[in-house]
Assembly symmetry: C2
Homo-oligomer: 371 residues x 2
Amino acid sequence: MFKFGVLKTDKSSKARLGRLLTPHGEISTPAFIPVGTQGTVKALCSKDLVDLDAEIILSNTYHLYLRPGDELIKELGGLHKFMNWERPILTDSGGFQVYSLAQFRRINEEGVMFQSHIDGSSHFITPEKAVEIQEFLGADIIMAFDECIPYPAEYDYCKKSTEMTLRWAERCLKAQKRDDQVLFGIVQGGMYNDLRKICAEELCNLGFSGFAIGGLSVGEPKEIMWDIADYTASILPEDKPKYLMGVGTPEDIIDGAMRGIDMFDCIIPTRQARNGSLFASTGKVVIKNSKYTRDENPVDPECDCYTCRNYSRAYLRHLFMAKEILSLRLNTIHNLHFYLNLMKRIRQAIENDSLESLVKEYKEIYGKVMC
Amino acid sequence: MFKFGVLKTDKSSKARLGRLLTPHGEISTPAFIPVGTQGTVKALCSKDLVDLDAEIILSNTYHLYLRPGDELIKELGGLHKFMNWERPILTDSGGFQVYSLAQFRRINEEGVMFQSHIDGSSHFITPEKAVEIQEFLGADIIMAFDECIPYPAEYDYCKKSTEMTLRWAERCLKAQKRDDQVLFGIVQGGMYNDLRKICAEELCNLGFSGFAIGGLSVGEPKEIMWDIADYTASILPEDKPKYLMGVGTPEDIIDGAMRGIDMFDCIIPTRQARNGSLFASTGKVVIKNSKYTRDENPVDPECDCYTCRNYSRAYLRHLFMAKEILSLRLNTIHNLHFYLNLMKRIRQAIENDSLESLVKEYKEIYGKVMC
């Protein structure tokens, strides 16, 4: 039911063209996964995502567990049916959100106790519970429950945490009941390559079908992030998908793809869209800028997204300044199109042995203003 | 360029089937005009409105004058182009908003001085200015600048105000430069039939091409509203469109259509959608109600709108409770479809001599819960 294959590897980098088969369809890799936290990519409906050619979306276990509840979603036929999305879904384990959103969390070997950011209610999530929730939600790809190590962190803390993450990973595998979902392990280890190595190797031995690199983009300098990501990607098995969680800017995605990363997810395109910050082939368009007041051009003259085909910068600026709801939707469509189109271009470039020139274009022309 | 024709009059009421031809297309009447205050029907794009079969929308002169400015919209090719809407548009005169939204307004014979609700800036709108703004915006149907009399108001005040509204109406006609827009007069007169009569007759003599009944639904009891609307509609010429401004509930629209009203606009379907209050053939669906938590049915099993074809009450409730942006769009699509479908059914019923049974259905089965 699941199959991952590398179709081609780039000559000048570790970038690879692949295909991931899931019960709800195929995903071409390198892939960007739009984030639909609460069972909707903010401001878009499922048809918008199909029109955007999104092949997979991510939804957050932590949020859906708290509201409307995983049991409810199971009862209603699972997340695909609930949100009317027939293509693949990936759910995270909830681990990252417990650390970043929940209050008064306490971690022990058994699991994590935390209070909901919505109503303060207390919850206890174990690795087994995280798998159960994700089985109730019914995504195609589910993630092992891990501890996301903050930055900076001492070696001893990282070592103990990583060892616990490994024990949790094993418990997740044992807890898995459904055979129509694939479980990915998450490599932790803080900013220490030796811990990353131990974690990656042990997860491999446990027999996961895919691997995420977690605990990055948590405040560390970018050089460190790439040092760790590069090393971790290099020791993960080549015949399994490699997923860099929570990354990143368009530049990051190119950098990641060149290091052999197959999957990315990030809130940047959707959140920045809602803040009026739009990606374009000429750099960033901050739509509230007064220079766009009378600008009849589309956000990006080279873009063929729905927003650019139909609306001017002047109109989008007006919608943004007037705080109109439509602004959120049109901006989100544009930014997601930019990201998904970037992935298409990366895949085509690997196919055509032209990745180097694509990288040059993105980096030299507008790489610097992308962050 | 403008033509209005009554195709058929109902046997059992004054309801009539008509067609209004404008430079941007035909409008079948009785028509409901969705309100797109700031150059967008909140949460929808122009394609959504086409998909909903909306034949005309309304935009607010007051809002667009203040932001982004009528001169800007003119420079960018007019409102149709600005918002990418190729079908007819009606703009109000700004009169009603000056009274309901602006601060520190002062009215004299020349015009109205007011302060913007956005930034407190001072503005002076005269009848000539109101026409100029609407010519800059470029709607197909524009409205004369009037004073909207509050309720309750003494006879003497109403008389003086109505006389001024008539002088302003004449000034609007004289100020009109474009010949591709049709100017409607607005009948005022407060809750006094004799003043309504004077106003209607005088507007007729001035040669307006269409007539609105203004100053209703401003706080008066519904019996009084219908008494005035009924009387005013009855004395307006039968060969010109009659437009009841700012009305109303589905029940009101049926009541209005039976009194010979051809056009309606109201924020009820769109505003109530954003508040989670949805119209259905079985009555109101207040989507946050906990009884919909596990409800897999569409909002209205008899509805074939995009929302009902694709999403359950349970999902819509979740989106509403989680304050998701998509909630606003899906709810708005549903409620506008309900209104536009009601208009289609009214028109079909006039055509098929079955208006009485349609009225019975709406009033007896769920009329009471509609308000």
